[in-house]
Amino acid sequence: MDRAVVRIVLACALTMAVGNVAGAQSNQASANAQQAKQKKHANQIPDSGLDQPEPEQGADPFERVVETVPVTVRADGTIVAELDESFMEAATVTIAADGALTFGHYAGLANANRAMRLLPARVLPQVFPILEEKE
């Protein structure tokens, strides 16, 4: 190890470090204060709840509505958007006539459930094993 190199690098680092060590501490203090402050803000963003049925969505089929997303601008400048279920990526599966699985995605569980309900009911010709075809 070339200690001369260490010295030079260290000197460069210290040029900034003296201020920044203190700065980091200050930032941490600021962060702590920020967190304390956030506790109050938290009430502005309601929890979506546990074990609740998915919320009903707008009439636009299978799409999310971005314009009505609740957005809060906080005093420190932080902007927060609260996303509803339609912004979740929901996965679906259907069994094709040959038994193969076809996966898909929808904007949220409600849309996924609606799409699955709309699929025509049909008799399952054969489920096991998966047949040979897959396009």
């Binding site: 980091a24 962060a31 074990d51 958007a81 990526e89 069994i95 904007a107 699955m116 998966i130």
Partner: protein, 584 residues
């Protein structure tokens, strides 16, 4: 150069001496949101399966969820814990279709503050998913739920509890809760979770794909998101954050022309998406050429080097399992000819996995399945982890051409491999294609890779049987994408990206400890990502003997003292510890 030399020496030193400060990762925890007796708390007894030691349905679900969370936790770095509020509850499931589940970020943040060396927002006025925002802030931006007590979850995940073997739901198919990917005909929960959690971590853009409208800020100004700034339309020659709503809406249905442009993804594309699968017929000259193939969802993935050998028709008995002697539906009879060769078999009667397994059992090194009807090439479905050789499917016409030569006792040689001249999943400039079908599919469009990718990718809109639970190269592009949107690698979670960090494996203990001796001196971090302890250890790495090390530390501490970072007394304590140590 000096910085490089310093970093190299320091890294070497830390590698020798500070094993405890290895890659940190992230803590991703599952918050069980189910009520007693339901979902994750379902008491129905279950036998352990596929490495999942749970003994109830609920336990096994939770173990599988946590495994997926741990796989992500090992792949990304964050000093801030990531919480996934998860439930299993009843969603739609019929005999032939089902909603599997969903996940996503619960909150988006823009213009948030940061602490210490953490970089803060990727860009101002740009939405970040909650977990990503916390990582870049260096603290929980919103620590609690509305009750002011419960730690806030960053991601919400809801999965269908009805996939439990009930014949009325998907004909009895169910979640495979094993951890080993051996799901058979069932649906591998961990694969689906890895995919959905990835959306929650940020593999998602938030504008409407039908109108192009973006989520507005509180002032009504639409904001782009960290994913959208990387979406580039080759037709419009614009990124999504440069487009009008109408242009974004048009871009969302511009198949084969919209890519993700990010440094990490671009670098990974040649490794992860090396080209298109192909069959190279090398002899005889009359039929030599490159044939288009369909790929299999089982067996070995094709490589650039490929598998080369002579082609031999695999023969089996014509019987009830398969009326042809070339359908490979039963054990191969000409094993002496097939062993070490590429077996040619016909499509039909039995599943692809049966044919390929029989050929593998006969010693074939690869399999060509010739179609039994005219048409374009197509893929081969099925699942069997015991198949380890590659298999491809060719058209009826191409199969007949090969058989004609073999029938005339002409040697046919071929290579099953990747054709690097043809892009599969990337455009001509090597950028990974996003899924933008001509008809917009909300939920799928844009927020997934294009389905042309080979090998199949975790974040394609369709779950493929050949996925491996890997989220990073050489198998997968998901982790590079997350890196591009702001999930920078930070092995010591000090907030400074490893690429910028002169001490990427810092000793971040709060006190300077030299060779086990606690000096009681605070161990601050400098803007270059190094701590005092790192610098002391660097002296050890460069010293020829103990005396030189102690002398070097003395000089170092003088610099620190003169800069006002440590006091004279603190210098003495560190100096004393260095003298007592057995370093280097």
């Amino acid at each position: 150069m000096m910085r490089g030399a310093f970093t190299a020496a320091l890294t070497a030193a830390l590698g020798l001496g500070v094993a405890a400060h290895a890659r940190a990762g992230a803590t991703v925890s599952i918050v069980n949101g189910n009520a007693a007796g339901l979902g994750f708390n379902d008491p129905a007894p279950r036998a352990p399966i596929g490495g999942n030691a749970g003994t109830t349905l609920g336990e096994q679900r939770l173990i599988a969820f946590q495994r997926a969370a741990d796989l992500w936790g090992a792949a990304i770095d964050s000093a801030v814990p990531i919480r996934i509020l998860a439930t299993f509850d009843a969603q739609v499931c019929t005999a032939t279709s089902a909603t599997l589940g969903s996940a996503g970020s619960r909150f988006l943040y823009a213009n948030f503050e940061k602490t210490g060396l953490y970089p803060g927002p990727v860009l101002m006025n740009t939405w970040h998913g909650g977990a990503l925002a916390d990582k870049r802030a260096g603290f929980e931006i919103d620590p609690f739920e509305a009750d002011g007590v419960t730690p806030r979850a960053d991601i919400r995940a809801r999965f269908n509890s009805l996939l439990n073997g009930n014949p009325a739901c998907l004909g009895g198919r169910q979640w495979y809760l094993g951890l080993d990917r051996n799901h058979g005909a069932d649906i591998d929960l961990i694969t689906v979770l890895l995919h959905e959690f990835s959306h929650g971590l940020g593999f998602q853009q938030f504008a409407s794909v039908t109108t192009g409208a973006q989520i507005p800020s509180g002032a009504g100004v639409p904001l782009t998101d960290v994913f959208g700034v990387h979406i580039f339309d080759n037709t419009q020659q614009k990124y999504w954050n440069q487009m009008s709503d109408a242009e974004r809406a048009a871009s969302a249905k511009n198949p084969g022309a919209v890519v993700f442009d990010g440094t990490a993804v671009n670098a990974a594309v040649p490794l992860v998406l090396p080209g298109a699968p192909a069959l190279f017929v090398t002899a005889p000259a009359a039929i030599a050429g490159t044939l288009a193939v369909g790929t299999a969802s089982f067996g070995a993935k094709l490589t650039s080097a490929g598998v080369s050998s002579g082609v031999v028709v695999a023969l089996d008995a014509a019987n009830a399992a398969g009326p042809s002697t070339s359908d490979a539906c039963t054990a191969i009879t000409n094993t002496g000819a097939v062993a070490g060769r590429i077996a040619l078999v016909d499509r039909g009667t039995c599943g692809f996995v049966v044919k390929v397994k029989n050929a593998q059992d006969a010693g074939a090194v690869g399999v060509i399945v010739a179609d039994n009807v005219a048409g374009a090439v197509a893929g081969m479905g099925g699942f069997d982890l015991s198949i380890t050789i590659p298999a491809v499917r060719i058209t009826l016409a191409n199969g007949n051409a090969i058989k004609a030569k073999l029938g005339a006792s002409v040697l046919v040689s071929a290579t099953i491999a990747i054709n690097p001249a043809v892009h599969a999943g990337s455009d001509a400039t090597g950028h990974a294609l996003l899924y933008t079908p001509a008809t917009v599919a909300p939920g799928s469009t844009i927020s997934h890779w294009d389905t042309s990718a080979y090998p199949n990718q975790l974040m394609e809109p369709f779950n493929n049987d050949d996925l491996t639970h890997s989220v990073k190269p050489p198998e997968d592009l998901t982790l590079p994408l997350l890196g591009d949107i702001g999930w920078f690698a930070d092995g010591d979670v000090d907030g400074l990206a490893d690429s910028l960090d002169q001490c990427p494996a810092s000793d971040r203990r709060s006190i300077v400890i030299v060779d086990g001796e606690n000096t009681g001196v605070a161990n601050p971090m400098f803007t270059n990502g190094c701590t005092i302890a790192d610098l002391v250890l660097a002296e050890a790495a460069g010293a020829k003997n103990h005396g030189k090390f102690v002398s070097g530390v003395a000089h170092l501490l003088n610099v620190l003292r003169d800069a006002g970072i440590i006091s004279g007394a603190e210098k003495g304590r560190i100096q004393s510890a260095a003298a007592h140590s057995s370093l280097p």
